[in-house]
């Protein structure tokens, strides 16, 4: 080192020179960055000149996404809601692990069946083969499976996916379309009709009455697992309105009082059955 302190002064000179040098900061809102043409940073849906989305909800993007990150829903040309992606992705909020991570008491799992229910795989394969393995028969296959199990077990869907060589995400997406149950229902299923006629005849009030009676909202189950409340638009129509379906039987037209009575009756029947079973054993 020639002069002691020379390095320090060299550094001081550098900073002093840079005091007057042009600055490199981009003043963001005024000065927008020039993004590379190859930039893949943001997915954006483009609009046509009439202000409509150009996206046709064809799910091609979701299918080619290498990390399966795209989960999308929309309406097809008939106005049906269609969806692609993992079915229970938004369940995370009620997931016990999410509770545990948040430091809240975690509820025990309700539906063990979801992951290890034994299913009759040859039978499912037989159903698939019976329809010739055609993709358009997926709904019919689902209907058959749901008739047998009361819902669409995940493993059955996997068998369907394997047998039909359809990507599982598509199978799940189709299963989530509506009308199919992805979890086993608990207890008695009360389905309140939500078709136009029933709602006109007071279906909404009926739903409110039942919600108040059971203490749950639509698409929920009571804590003791005795009842599940649902809505669907195919229960009754016209003369029956407003109608509900209790398990397999359709009742209507109903008042709130009558609906409550039905619920009470089922409860009593359950209690009787339990007592009888206890005596028998």
């Amino acid at each position: 080192m020639a002069i002691p302190g020379g390095g320090i002064f060299k550094g001081m000179a550098t900073t002093f020179r840079n005091l007057f040098a042009p600055k490199v900061t981009r003043q963001y809102p005024e000065e927008r960055p020039q993004m590379s043409e190859r930039w893949r940073g943001r997915l954006d849906l483009i609009y046509d000149p009439f202000g409509e989305h150009k996206c046709e909800v064809c799910f091609q993007c979701a299918q080619v996404c290498p990390v399966e990150a795209i989960d999308m829903s929309g309406f097809d040309s008939q106005g049906n809601r269609i969806r692609y992606g993992m079915p229970e992705i938004y369940d995370e909020r009620t997931d016990p692990n999410a509770h545990r991570r948040a430091g809240l008491p975690a509820r025990p799992m309700r539906n063990l069946a979801r992951w290890d229910e034994a299913i009759d795989e040859p039978w499912v394969r037989g159903v698939v083969d019976g329809y010739g393995g055609r993709p358009e028969s997926l709904v019919a296959i689902f209907t058959a499976v749901q008739e047998r199990y009361g819902y669409l077990p995940e493993r059955a869907l996997r068998v369907v996916s394997d047998r039909m060589t359809i990507h599982w995400a598509q199978v799940f997406g189709a299963a989530g379309l509506g009308g199919f149950r992805l979890l086993p229902a608990e207890g008695h299923v009360i389905t309140v009709c939500s078709c136009a006629a029933c709602r006109f005849a007071g279906g909404d009030a009926l739903l409110k009455e039942l919600s108040a009676e059971l203490g749950i909202g639509p698409r929920e189950s009571t804590d003791d697992g005795a009842f599940t409340l649902e809505t669907a638009d195919d229960v009754g129509a016209g003369a029956l309105a407003p109608a509900i379906r209790l398990d397999t039987l359709v009742y209507g037209p109903l008042t709130g009082e009558q609906a409550r009575h039905l619920v009470h009756e089922r409860r009593r029947a359950d209690v009787r059955a339990t007592v009888r079973a206890g005596r028998a054993s």
């Binding site: 993992m86 997931d95 692990n97 799992m109």
Partner: protein, 238 residues
């Protein structure tokens, strides 16, 4: 590597990899290895820039120290040490990759470890730097290195008691009831086809280069393996 020779495969369209410099010189290495370890000659296998031997886990320190100290081999640098789990009923494998400036090929030493009592002598006496490798293997696979004086968890917390990278690792906490259940065959052992990892399949991949009869002899069960593989392919979820 069969399809290398099959006409019309992508590889043949593009030509083979560059002039395979390494094994040409690796011949010396293979000779040196067969001279010193005649009992391992049957397990020799070469890749374009890798020479591989298989040993029993109990011998790892002995073999590795001879590989390091022999002046003609002189594998002075431990490039990697990793473990692989071949599934329930199979075995663990601890894989050491070594480098020597005398031989332009990586030397891969595959040490076989029994799955029911996964004990292996520690090589921290040879290379201090194997410490973190061994701690990671212990943490992730539960392989116990005798003689390692700091065999602790390294990634997971000290009170954790499972071995996450084992093939039979179940995560009831997460898999069974999480939203991801059914999304990925991540922790679902019943979806794994373990038959593919049988001893024969893992060991009978025939070599690219003619190194010696012992090294390139194709397994007698080749036909079975072929059948096995296609089955396995079919049974994989698509």
């Amino acid at each position: 590597m069969d399809d290398l020779r099959r006409p019309g495969s992508p590889a043949s369209r593009l030509g083979r990899r560059r002039a395979l410099t390494a094994p040409a010189v690796a011949g010396a290495l293979v000779r040196a290895l067969t001279d010193r370890f005649p009992e391992l000659a049957g397990t020799l296998w070469t890749d374009e820039d890798t020479v591989e031997v298989q040993i029993d886990g109990a011998r790892s320190v002995e073999v590795l120290s001879r590989l390091r100290d022999d002046p003609e081999l002189h594998f002075w640098y431990l490039a990697d040490a990793a473990a692989a789990d071949y599934g329930v009923g199979e075995h663990f494998e601890v894989v050491y990759h070594l480098y020597s400036d005398l031989h332009p090929a990586w030397l891969r030493v595959r040490a076989r470890v029994d799955r029911s009592s996964p004990h292996l002598p520690s090589i921290t006496g040879l290379w201090e730097g194997a410490m973190f490798h061994e701690r990671e293997m212990f943490d992730m696979m539960g392989i116990i290195f005798d003689g390692n004086r700091d065999l602790r968890r390294i990634y997971m917390s000290p009170d954790y008691r499972s071995f996450p990278q084992r093939r039979d690792f179940l995560l009831p906490d997460d898999a069974a009831d999480s939203s991801a259940a059914g999304v990925n065959p991540l922790e679902r052992p019943e979806t794994w086809d373990l038959s593919r990892f049988s001893e024969e399949v893992a060991h009978s991949i025939d070599p690219i280069l003619p190194l010696g009869t012992s090294a390139m002899a194709p397994g007698p069960e080749a036909a079975e393996i072929e059948a096995d593989e296609t089955d396995a392919d079919k049974s994989r979820p698509r």
